[in-house]
């Protein structure tokens, strides 16, 4: 812990001592080599037919395909039931007042719907061509099954403390699940591996990437007025996050949690309007998605290249296989952990199949109408430019939406990372505060470095944790399958009844 404090002190020192204009560059120069080093390890690439396939993407996709088949296409079969559960059709009135399925889903979704849905898709289309969208959607569909398995396990193996609060997630199911299968030592190792991963990963995907893209969009909207002022925006953002997670100013968090869903709806609504305004380009845009998916025209590595990019961005957006959502879902009290798994199916659906696809179509139709509309813009700025073609004022609400998405994702991820931390170091207050301070420092850091290294670092760190998680899911999948079959049998026989 001392080391972290030293790091914090160093960081604070370097910010205050360096010249304002030079700070961004200094930090950039320092982080870029670290980023590429971590990236090289995690994204070790296998050359396949001219494309570069990162091992970790293969790992996630193979897992998602396996769970889809092993669970008998639960992503299709369970869909209708998921909606019934969220609607509360099966909710016992005597358990009203506990966390509802809807609440757990909403919290998990607002943790996953982040800048990735706006900016990540643009990255996918830039690098992987329109065809990447097809693979992105497919990956979202397959990811539903992975999510189902991990969220079921999250509830089944969560830890309930004496005062009634609960902590759950992959670290707990890895430890307990393996113990139940007679591999206690290995389970402990895997649990700790995951806890370290989610704790460090939280600083990337759920932190630096978010604050970075929020800054980019703010800068874009202000016409570049914030150039070189990343450190200032970063400090302000960090201060707000600080006030919520350390200062305990819950009202800010509450307000955000309430606004974010409406922002998401607002975003989708306008995206659909923009797509419809380009109605003439829709058939061509869709044709591009399909042809690009299988020909990979103009993409490094061809169709396979497009596929890899699509898969990579999908996982980055919906987090299936990362295990993060299972931490949020495990707060639900239910006698049937399967129900939570089924509800969580909707998460990749909403995040990837609905929101990402809409973003992809906004960009796709713009590309058909004006191939060079975005210039050299990438990420959020590119999506923003696509909207700007129809509504010149749109970048401003988009910037607000991006800021709020980023903020709510950061709040959720600060919690996920914290759970990793408390798993390792216990629930002590002092340790938790150190973690939270560190988290705030990284929020500020995120605004100062370039998108490239940020993406590399956060991708790398997050994908690292899917290694223990998915390995655990393979081992524990038979347990989930048994419960799933028993559950559906009892629904069939009428033993589990609807209350509505």
């Amino acid at each position: 812990m001392k080391r972290f404090l030293t790091m914090l002190a160093l960081l604070a020192g370097s910010i205050s001592s360096a010249q304002a204009a030079g700070i961004d560059e200094t930090i950039n120069a320092a982080t870029a080599p670290i980023a590429s080093f971590i990236g090289d390890i995690v994204f070790f690439k296998i050359p396949v037919f001219g494309a570069q396939l990162p091992v970790v993407v293969l790992w996630l996709v193979v897992g998602a395909v396996f769970f889809t088949f092993y669970m008998g296409f639960i992503n299709l079969r369970g869909f209708k039931h998921a909606i019934e559960l969220v609607r509360g059709d099966y909710a016992d009135p005597n358990s009203h007042g506990e966390v509802s399925h809807f609440q757990a889903l909403a919290t998990a979704v607002s943790g996953t719907v982040g800048i990735g849905n706006i900016g990540g898709v643009a990255v996918a289309v830039t690098v992987g061509g329109p065809g990447a969208t097809f693979w992105l959607i497919l990956a979202g569909f397959l990811g539903m099954s992975t999510k189902f398995v991990e969220c079921t396990l999250g509830v089944k193996y969560r830890n309930e403390f004496e005062d009634g609060h609960v902590s759950g997630g992959p670290m707990y199911y890895l430890r307990q699940g393996f113990k139940d299968r007679g591999m206690e030592g290995f389970g402990k190792f895997m649990g700790t591996f995951y806890a370290i991963g989610i704790f460090i990963g939280a600083l990337g995907i759920g932190n630096m990437f978010q604050s970075n893209q929020a800054y980019v969009q703010l800068n874009h909207v202000s016409g570049g007025a914030l150039d070189g002022l990343g450190w200032l925006v970063g400090l302000i953002l960090a201060a707000v996050v600080f006030s919520v997670i350390i200062g305990g100013i819950k009202s800010i968090a509450r307000v955000t949690e309430k606004i974010v869903p409406f922002m998401a709806i607002f975003y989708c609504l306008f995206a659909i309007i923009v797509i419809l305004m380009n109605a003439g380009s829709i058939p061509q845009a869709i044709a591009n998605i399909f042809s690009g998916a299988f020909t990979g025209e103009g993409v490094a590595g061809g169709a396979l290249g497009a596929m890899i990019i699509g898969f990579q961005r999908a996982v980055f957006s919906n987090e299936a296989g990362i295990g993060s959502a299972s931490i949020a879902h495990s707060a639900v009290r239910t006698d049937e952990p399967i129900t939570e798994g089924i509800v969580s199916l909707l998460e990749p659906f909403i995040d990837t199949i609905v929101i990402c696809t809409i973003t992809a179509l906004v960009i796709g139709t713009a590309q058909v109408a004006a191939p060079d509309f975005a210039g050299d813009k990438i990420g959020v700025a590119m999506t923003s430019a696509a909207f700007e073609r129809e509504f010149s004022w749109f970048p401003i609400p988009l910037a607000i939406a991006a800021l709020l998405f980023a903020f709510s994702t950061m709040i959720s991820w600060s919690y996920y990372g914290l759970k990793g931390w408390t798993y390792m170091f216990g629930e002590g207050e002092r340790g938790q505060t150190i973690y939270k301070l560190l988290f705030c420092a990284f929020v500020a850091l995120g605004c100062v470095v370039q998108l490239g290294p940020i993406l590399d670092i956060s991708d790398a760190l997050v994908f690292l944790i899917c290694v223990p998680n998915i390995l655990g899911l393979y081992f524990l999948a038979p347990i989930v399958k048994r419960e799933m079959n028993s559950y559906f049998a009892r629904i069939e026989s009428g033993e589990i009844k609807k209350f509505k």
């Binding site: 909710a91 399925h101 909403a106 009634g164 968090a253 509450r254 707060a331 959720s412």
Partner: protein
């Protein structure tokens, strides 16, 4: 239908007045009483993960508070009246939950107070009592 009266208490004076009226009626008709406290709650709200984690504890605390500060004192006060009294605390939308409880406990009548909300307030937020009167499947006595 059993001879039971459901009384909606909320810790306010109007709830108390509803109870008084119900007690008079119960004595006349030898009815038993079901004292209820509904904690306003909806399954469709948005929370932070931290709030979800603490939800169970909070719920227990809310139920305990409703029992200890509202229902238990009334039950104690009724101890010498020779009435049969049961209590229930539940989370949910208030009017909707009262209607459900009335069905579940098979009561013959509901007694509720009325807040005397201003017209504007009632127009915007809707009145709980009005919703109860409109949706209940048994007679409702509204005590001003």
């Amino acid at each position: 239908m059993s001879n039971k009266l459901l009384v909606a208490l909320d810790g306010s004076d109007c709830g108390k007045r509803a109870l008084e009226a119900a007690v008079v009626q119960a004595k006349l008709t030898k009815a038993s009483l079901v004292l209820t406290y509904v904690i306003d709650w909806t399954p469709y709200s948005f929370h932070t993960p931290q709030e979800l984690e603490e939800r169970h504890q909070r719920r227990e605390a809310e139920i305990e508070r409703a029992n200890d500060s509202v229902l238990a004192p009334e039950v104690a006060a009724l101890a010498n009246e020779g009435l049969q009294v049961e209590t229930v605390v539940r989370h949910g939308k208030i009017a909707e939950t009262l209607v459900e409880l009335a069905k579940e406990y098979d009561v013959s009548q509901i007694y509720a107070g009325r807040r005397g909300e201003s017209r504007v307030r009632a127009m915007i937020f809707g009145s709980v009592t009005a919703a109860l009167v409109q949706t209940a499947e048994v007679p409702v006595t509204v005590v001003p």
